[in-house]
C-alpha cells in the first residue's frame, strides 16, 4: 500500500491542527479524542512530524502541538513523505536503497520514476487548507483533460 495508516493519520492530524490552530497549543489528547485514534499511536506519528519540523510541541500543563507555518505552506506531498517514510512506488526507488544490479538494463525503472514524479507533481500542489475544505484539483483536471 502506497499510503500507510501512519500517512493517513498524519493527514488527519494536520487537518485537525489546522482547524484548531486558533486555540493555541493543542494537546494530543484532544486530537486523539476528536479523531478517534489511540493517543499512544498518534504519539509515534506526531513525533515524526515534529522531528521533521512540520509541527512543534511544548511540554507541561497548557502545552500541546501547533503548526510551525501557515497552513498554505504545507503540501500533501510533504506530510505524506514524512509520516509514511517514503512515497516511492517501488522498493528500489526508496531513499537509501542499495542500487539494484539491473539498474542499467531495467526497462521498467523509468516507468516507476515517472509514477513517482507524477505523484510529486500532483500532491505537491495540494495544500493543507485545500485538504481542510476538500476543494482541490481533481485527477482529471490535473491530467489536463478538462482544461
Amino acid at each position: 500500500m502506497l499510503i500507510s495508516t501512519k500517512g493517513r493519520y498524519a493527514i488527519r492530524v494536520m487537518i485537525d491542527l489546522a482547524e484548531n490552530r486558533q486555540s493555541g497549543y493543542v494537546p494530543l489528547r484532544d486530537v486523539a479524542e476528536r479523531q478517534q485514534i489511540s493517543e499512544k499511536y498518534l504519539e509515534s506519528i506526531i513525533s515524526l512530524l515534529s522531528k521533521a519540523g512540520l509541527v512543534e510541541g511544548i511540554r507541561g500543563k497548557g502545552g500541546g502541538y501547533r503548526l510551525t507555518r501557515e497552513p498554505e505552506e504545507y503540501t500533501a506531498w510533504e506530510i505524506l513523505n514524512v509520516a509514511n517514510g517514503t512515497m516511492a512506488p517501488v522498493a528500489c526507488l526508496k531513499d537509501g536503497a542499495p542500487e539494484c544490479d539491473r539498474h542499467d538494463i531495467c526497462k521498467s525503472l523509468s516507468l516507476y520514476e515517472n509514477i513517482y514524479e507524477l505523484m510529486e507533481l500532483y500532491l505537491g500542489e495540494i495544500t493543507l487548507p485545500q485538504l481542510v475544505s476538500g476543494e482541490f484539483t481533481t485527477a482529471e483536471e490535473f491530467a489536463g483533460k478538462k482544461l
Copy 2:
C-alpha cells in the same frame, strides 16, 4: 509499497513475452533464465496473468506461454492490477474492503480517490510496446506542463 515484487516481475514477464513472441510459445523456464528470477516464483505470477486472460499457456513438450492479444492492447495499468492484486493507494479503497465508519466524514478520502484515478489515467495510457521501447509519456508531459 504501491507496486510489489509481483507487480514488477509481471511487467518484466510481459515485456519478455512481447519481445519473444515470434518464437511461439515460450517456456517459463526461458523467461526465468533471461530475467534471472526463480522459475517457481514466476509460476505463481504468471498463473495470475493466465487466469486473468492476459496470457495463455499450453502444456507438454513444445508448450509454454504467449500473449493472447496484440502487445498494444495491454496497458501497464491492467498488468499491474492483475499481478499486484490492487493499485489502491490506501487500504480503504481496495476492492471488497469493508466500508470504513468514517466514510461520510472522511476529509481525505477524496484525495486518495484522486490519486487512484490519476494513476489509472497515467498508467492506462502506457502500453506494452511502449514499455518494450522505453518510450512513453513522462510525468511532466502528462501533467500538461510541457504541452
